[in-house]
Symmetry: C3
Subunit: 324 residues, 3 copies
């Protein structure tokens, strides 16, 4: 049970490492909590004292200014102290082991580590090796999971569609290397979506795809037929070209890029999502990214709210009182 470590003895959330293995009840609780933080005008998010006195450390072994910033904003909205620990500048270059570094950082009275790492399983490894009073949130580990991204996607879908049970969702792009896709597939299945489809060339589909509970499509038009939600993945051009998995960005756009013409195959009320940053004219046409069906910027806003919810819940703070 890879996820047991995510819960404490009383079955409460302690770390947030992966969607796989979590209950529908917990995911709904996270969504409800996140939703409660967002002002009805969608332009502001309350500053609340839920994590006052707590210290959250951003531990980004893989650089990502944007994701780190969303966690920093989320923690500050909860009134936590935030420390950005710059790994490359630190003593990892001094020959110190990862566990020694972690034990040192937790001894500085940090209450939570937000971890991004290029290696799959890194956040689990860290959660296994730290003290009981420290909490870990996975901000992306290799090709494994990016669970807060999946939750912000789920929140965005719920805001537009309400119930998950009748929904058909298509995820398009490099499924093989995408921790975003992997986490979202788990979340959608747990939340009871009717159908999850992945659409990509064979070289970009994991071999065990169907065991993840998805339908595999190689043709975009067929794949998005009648879907309610389309999630376009970012084409990691640097990765693709080096591996010679694809001939060119241009050819990718011809075959798997989302244009207004292609979009007509989806349900008329379909929404278009993307984890960002978008490659205009590579995986998505500008007119679609900026069009009425696009909810891409709403995803960004929901990312703040979802990260606040996950941090607060993993810390075990009493939400009922302060959240209102």
């Amino acid at each position: 049970m890879i996820n047991n470590i995510q819960f404490n003895d009383r079955g409460k959330l302690r770390h947030f490492l992966a969607i796989e293995g979590l209950s529908k009840e917990l995911l709904v609780h996270i969504l409800d909590t996140a939703q409660s933080f967002i002002h009805p005008d969608h332009q502001t998010i309350k500053k609340i004292p839920l994590l006052r006195g707590k210290a959250v450390m951003n531990l980004f072994f893989e650089p990502s200014t944007r994701t780190r910033t969303t966690f920093e904003i989320a923690a500050k909205r909860l009134s936590a102290d935030v420390i950005n620990f710059n790994i490359s500048a630190s003593s990892s270059s001094k020959g110190e082991s990862l566990t020694d570094m972690l034990h040192n950082l937790e001894a500085m009275f940090c209450d939570m580590f937000v971890v991004r790492h290029a290696a799959s399983g890194a956040a689990h490894f860290i959660a296994e090796h730290i003290s009981p009073h420290v909490h870990v949130v996975n901000a992306g580990d290799g090709c494994h999971e990016h669970p807060t991204q999946a939750m912000l996607d789920a929140l965005t879908i719920r805001q537009h569609k309400g119930d998950f049970s009748p929904l058909k969702v298509a995820i398009v792009g490099d499924i093989l290397h995408s921790r975003v896709a992997r986490s979202l597939i788990h979340a959608l299945n747990i939340l009871g979506a009717n159908e999850v489809r992945v659409i990509a060339p064979k070289t970009l589909i994991p071999k065990d795809a169907e065991q993840l509970g998805v339908q595999v499509h190689h043709n975009l038009r067929q794949g998005i037929k009648n879907v309610d939600v389309i999630v376009m993945l970012r084409l990691q051009r640097e990765r693709m070209q080096s591996a010679a998995l694809l001939p060119s960005a241009h050819e990718f756009f011809q075959t798997y890029g989302l244009t207004e013409d292609i979009l007509k195959f989806a349900h008329p009320n379909a929404i278009v999502m993307h984890p960002g940053p978008i490659n205009r004219g590579v995986e998505i046409a500008s007119s679609v990214a900026d069009g009425k069906k696009s909810v891409i910027l709403q995803q960004v806003s929901n990312g703040i709210a979802v990260r606040m919810a996950v941090m607060a819940l993993a810390m075990g703070v009493p939400l009922e009182e302060s959240g209102e």
Copy 2:
């Protein structure tokens, strides 16, 4: 009307992008507000909760640790959350457009962007492309404007001279490339200074200088004759040498450097200003920079107060209640 964008529908300050086009009434209001933040001992500045719950993001496309730090301190004195967004480390390298990046950052519930950019007009461009609830402060755009610097200069002058109407002010150095000079010229004219002179070799004077409302001088002694305020600009040696506009820093000092001997040509009560960092022995002699007429460090302190005032006013917070 380049500055219309600086105001909202009710004519209230919304962005602070340029001095050009602002009213005397507004400039005086900014100066009054800034002055109210400074403790009479000039050594402390109150922490006040005017921007509690607001998030201010420093967006510096051109590196400037010092100016960024003054905005960071100012925002924290106002109790805002401050996020330093490191542009070079972010996904501008991922091929994302500036507007996509901005829309992403504003979707993170930022209330204000403080922007420095090497391109003239960048802050205006950003203000034109963001949502109505987000505010923009220009922290320097190319050779165009650096409006908070002009306001801190004006505050420093007012603290020493009181009324602007009888004042003669000389600005000495590379007027052509200086956003500091350009903003200050506008501010002094709006505030009603008697005379604004610019003093520089012909190669460093903009062709339309006199249309800015200044007297042009090429001789330092003649130019500073009887002036009440001398503003020395920093010699940007890297820029000058590459452009071959000047033979050497040494020769510049001989002709345009401010020494104690030269200073005697100014009014006996003249004050000496400089935006910093100073080049001792290039544009200013050490004895002058450290002398009794120098108010250079007071300018730095006033920079914090002025930035607090501009942020608070642009955010539209009710100053009357909290400022006291």
Copy 3:
């Protein structure tokens, strides 16, 4: 009297620059204050409003992410605003002098500078050149002193041993270049330790060692005989090899590395300390670093508490009221 500058006219702590010359009474007061901040569970440290409204600037001329982070956490626990000023990115490259930079930074209404510098005496120099209302804490200056490290070591020793008067303490490693050793020797002598021994090859012992009030040993087994506390220093491999003071890390471990076998020569209740980060298998065996006698991580925690105490005391805030 090198330390006079550390006190104000009324004899109260104003800067914390060096242990040398401080009184036992003051050191005990620092230890008592630090201890009062630590929760009995040793896992949390209270957030207290002692420095609310104050601004602390980290000025690290020598990069040290870890030490800077401990000061950042300590200042935030005291509710201060913290500004990390990145020196290399700032205008030191613009030809500005150190004193000009300092005067500029203090004019930004900073209340305290935390300074690390590669030059011995740098923190003293800064304390001598700033305004009366600004406070300086030395976070390590060249080979001179690292006084907060000595205080966290002393706090850790006191937590385990109570009284200093009967204690024998051995410091092992590169004494010659170690500001940690130098500060700790002074602290232990002031606090009245029975015996302080330094253990190193002749090339790594300062010539005036015995004038510091220590016994010099070159043999590890003899040196740690019956000691109550062993402080292992980090082997700065880069420094050593360039200076050809030592043949190899392997040979150092053979002669001066702390193993379980060697540890048997110490008192049965001896504790093992290290300022971190540790070099496993160079100056200390893993089994010792992770063993029951090791208090290395407790040192890290005490570092936060001691830095809080030093900052609060140097700022002169009334501890009696808020500390409880």
